[in-house]
Amino acid sequence: MRHITRPLQHLSLMLFLLGCFAGQPATAQWWQFGADVTEPEFTDLLFNQVSALRVERTLQFTADDIDNGKVIVRGRAEVRQGAIGRVEASLDDGLTWTEVPFSDRGLFAFEFRPEPERVYRFRIRALSTTGQASNETDHAFEFKVVRQDARALARAAFEELLARYMARDRAGFMALVSRDFSGNESALDSALSNDFRFFDSIRIRPTIQRVAAADDRWTIYFAFDRQVRSVRTGQLLQDRAYTTVTLIREGEGYKLHELAAPLIFGVSDPGDVATFVTDESVGTEVLTVDRDGNVSTQEQGRTTQAEVVEEDRGPPSNISEGSVTLANNQGYSLITRTKVAPINAPGPSFTFGAEGYGATPMVFSVGDVIGAQKLTGFASLTAVTSVPEVLAEPSLSGDVWSVGDIYALQLLDGTYAIVRLASGGGSPWSFQYRHQRNGTASFR
């Protein structure tokens, strides 16, 4: 079915675009970009220094945007064939119009004194000497002077992005993304869908370190504490790092313009969403999500990608990651990803004991293990890039371990895994794992 729908879809897309072009009036010539040649267009529209050409619903001004209580509107009306005969503006949604003088080149200007917090329903139109009118609705929007300053508006936009994200509102979030988003906005849209499918109960607490502005762009550099719950495993994961968000003034307000890694939005696809890395977070454990919905933490590298794009050798990596919490005398099979009880999983198992447990060292086990070896010199699982292909037989009596110890395991199906004891000293016991399912001993 999919093999049929995909070509049909591309075909329909092309037909749609062709139809749109073919539907143009006969007077339009394809080599001339633009609308109907006799229809006037506004090609510039400035409210003081702010471009209002593409405002769709609301244009908000702060006190800083106002000059001596005035807004000076300047612009240009043009028509390809013929001449501009009249320019009119309205502040009451077109109930009354005021004629505005214009130059030979279609340039015009007028001013008004807006009252704070009042809504003005702005419209502007141009008529050609042949009576053709511009499309009024193209430049119809509400204008308002708000109490807040620009920084407060940018900060409010950031708060709104956080609120939409924590409420898992993808459509609402994407409405706050700039059309000039520096990363890939389609990838961001897809990544948000995946974020919301794979983790919930999102909590992000930012502490802003620095806010800076240039032109109409604001960058917010902040530390964040984050907690999410993996939908698949129910595990709560946390990370803490520094990152940067850039907002730009566009249309009705400030919108998301650029994201740095580590990402707080669109975590599922950092390689296509983030455009740079916040240096201070390099080496910090941050949240990552793979395509299967496995949520884990990994060290932030120097590139935005979750996995560094380097020399790629052998079969594609297929690593599952996660963490498991077990009670005393529980076992866990990495192959089936299920908890088993009592101690021993089906088949051979590798049993961990704990310091201080003396005569009863067996506390929990990882089942389906045919080889095991303790690895030294690694602080985290992501630091392990490969393991020995030949591993010793697992000790039946169990190894004494300490929190932070890392073991390489060979499983019954021939695949390799690495596990790290994350917490212990009493039930529950938790360990993190990375399971390379492509059959190699590489964990890149």
């Binding site: 970009f33 633009g34 006190a63 009042r118 809504v119 329903r121 930012p206 698949r232 201070e280 919905g293």
Partner: protein, 589 residues
């Protein structure tokens, strides 16, 4: 709650309203407080005062000059000193056997920022400004240091020159330089349409990294940059040259590679007669990478992007093409490396009510065949919108179909296809707005592993505003109901989550508001051995702007969150109290 921590942001160079300014606009009408935004009477269009047509649109509308993050306005207060105290106290209590999983920092903690802004004229033509933010906190969650300087900046400017020392947001272009630095930024206006900008400094995010070595600080990275920009009636052209380098001898360097690079870039924009906007940027980076072992590698890469948008009658088109080579490293800018991407979107208005849109996005990596595997992604999308059907002005319908195909070739090719079907409907019934959404993701993977899983999301929201008790209070309740059903791609088990959220705000005629928030999410996890979970959160807040704070604000929050797992050993509960105070002081002529 969380977003209000953002109140603790530092002072930026854009100046907030003075106390007098706040007082001017604080006289709000009862209509505004009732949430109904006042609109002008028809006669107000006479407020429009026609002016003589300008000769150009490139010059500022008034005598105001805009330089980077600073505005020069002659009518500003000549000399002033403003101080803002932003302080927060938080008390967190966590209990239960699984309390170690809480992300709150237990105990009582303070966070206080003092922001200073001082302005003073020097001579007849120069204005100066000083900004600083000093922070105290006893929580390492908020800052690694107990006391720290968060922001430090000195500005001196006249009509042609603008000099910044200290914190400076250097924005040249996306590929070349777009970062905050600590150093010097200087901009000089050459004429009404051109300026030159020079920056030099370090990318250090914190001031204490500049003075002494901290264990967790990143390697020192310095930058020098030059930008020349000219703007015409229909175009803007920027020429950029950036040189950046890491400090090889930085004691914090351990196993990291270091980089030195020179990056020239050109950015431009052109607007056609019919309102089309064309733009782009072209950059080339020559980078020398030195490994910790001492070996050096020379890398050269380029990045190009072209974008356009405009209209063809009822059709609005927007497109972008971008190619960033694998060896294009930018130390001060940003780019997703090793990507070739094309994007095109068209929105077409069929009638006043009906519209359709189509978009196609495709991108790939491995541009120089260095990798064994190339990943190609294609995302076509088709959609339909309708507004005002059945004579209901507020009724809005939207439906779209989107397919994301990701293919990897190489020895073991893989294909991942995800079809997304999305539909939403919204309407307003007097003061009550409702919205329903449905999203289905049908995923299929072929390759070394083959599986298929379908995910569904349903959401229904009600949002309303009510003026109650004769307009004395404005009540704004919000209700959201959500169900999500995920199919585990490995086990085929269903993970079902049901969520409800209710928020309410009560705004009074004075500067006082109350907030209430409740959330309940329950997950039924069909995976063997996986926990079912339930989360309940409750929060209350009060916001006040009392007169004795002279424009400052006070906020109090209390909250309770309960995490319940089918494995009782993981249960825990969080309770918190937060008090926040923003208190401005103002002095000056």
């Amino acid at each position: 709650m969380t977003p209000n921590l953002l109140r603790l942001g530092v002072f930026s160079a854009t100046i907030s309203w003075t106390l007098a300014g706040v007082a001017q606009v604080s006289d709000t009408s009862a209509t505004e407080l009732a949430g109904e935004e006042p609109t002008v009477a028809p006669t107000r269009s006479s407020l429009i005062v026609p002016l003589a047509p300008p000769d150009t649109l490139t010059a500022p509308a008034t005598g105001e000059m805009v330089f980077g993050d600073f505005r020069f306005e002659e009518d500003r207060a000549a000399r002033s000193l403003d101080v803002m105290l932003r302080s927060m106290f938080e008390s967190h209590r966590v209990s239960g056997p699984g309390r170690a999983a809480s992300f709150l920092e237990p105990g009582n903690h303070w966070l206080t920022d003092v922001e200073v802004n001082a302005r003073s004229p020097v001579g007849e033509h120069w204005n100066t400004e000083f900004n600083a933010v000093v922070r105290y906190t006893d929580s390492r969650r908020h800052d690694p240091a107990t006391t720290s300087v968060q922001y430090l900046q000195f500005i001196a400017q006249d009509e042609q020159n603008h000099l910044t020392l200290g914190d400076y947001y250097a924005t040249f272009s996306q590929y070349s330089l777009n970062r905050g630095i600590k150093g010097v930024g200087y901009q000089r206006v050459l004429d009404a349409s051109s300026h030159v900008q020079v920056v030099a400094g370090a990318f250090d995010p914190r001031w204490d990294y500049l003075f002494g070595t901290k264990a967790d600080e990143p390697i020192d990275r310095q930058v020098i940059g030059l930008r020349v920009q000219t703007v015409g009636e229909r175009y803007r052209l920027g020429l950029n040259l950036v040189n950046a380098q890491d400090d090889d001898s930085d004691p914090v360097r351990t196993t990291e590679d270091t980089y030195r690079q020179t990056l020239p870039a050109v950015d431009w924009e052109y607007r056609t007669l019919a309102g089309w906007r064309l733009g782009g940027e072209h950059a080339h980076a020559r980078t020398r990478r030195q490994a910790a072992a001492g070996s050096e590698t020379d890398l050269a890469g380029s990045a190009h992007r072209l974008n356009f948008d405009g209209g063809l009658g009822e059709l609005r088109l927007r497109g972008r093409a971008e190619r960033v080579s694998p060896d294009f490293f930018t130390m001060g800018g940003g780019a997703a490396i090793d990507r070739f991407r094309t994007y095109l979107r068209g929105d077409y208005s069929l009638t006043d009510r009906w519209g359709v849109f189509a978009a196609t996005d495709s991108y790939r990596n491995n541009l120089d065949d260095r990798l064994d595997t190339t990943t190609r992604t294609r995302i076509p999308e088709l959609g339909l919108t309708a507004r005002g059907l059945f004579d209901r002005r507020s009724l809005y319908l939207s439906a779209s179909y989107r397919q994301r195909t990701e293919e990897s070739d190489g020895p073991q090719p893989q294909q991942f296809v995800s079809d997304r079907i999305y539909a939403s409907v919204s309407d307003r019934f007097e003061q009550v707005a409702v919205r329903g959404e449905m999203e289905a993701l049908l995923n299929e993977r072929e390759g070394t592993t083959e599986n298929r899983n379908d995910d569904f999301l349903y959401r229904f929201t009600v949002d309303s505003r009510h003026s109650i008790l004769g307009g004395r209070y404005d009540l704004r309740p919000y209700l959201s109901l959500e169900r999500q059903e995920l199919e585990d791609p490995t086990t085929g088990a269903t993970v079902r989550t049901d969520g409800v959220r209710f928020d309410a705000q009560l705004l009074t005629r004075g500067d006082l508001s109350y907030g209430f928030s409740f959330e309940d999410r329950a997950t039924d996890n069909g995976n063997p051995g996986a926990d079912d979970t339930r989360l309940q959160r409750l929060a209350l807040n009060v916001d006040s702007r009392p007169a004795f704070l002279h424009g400052g604000t006070f906020r109090a929050e209390v909250g309770d969150a309960d995490y319940d797992f089918s494995d009782d050993d993981r249960d825990y509960r969080e309770r918190y109290l937060r008090l926040m105070l923003d208190f401005p002081f103002g002095f000056g002529s």
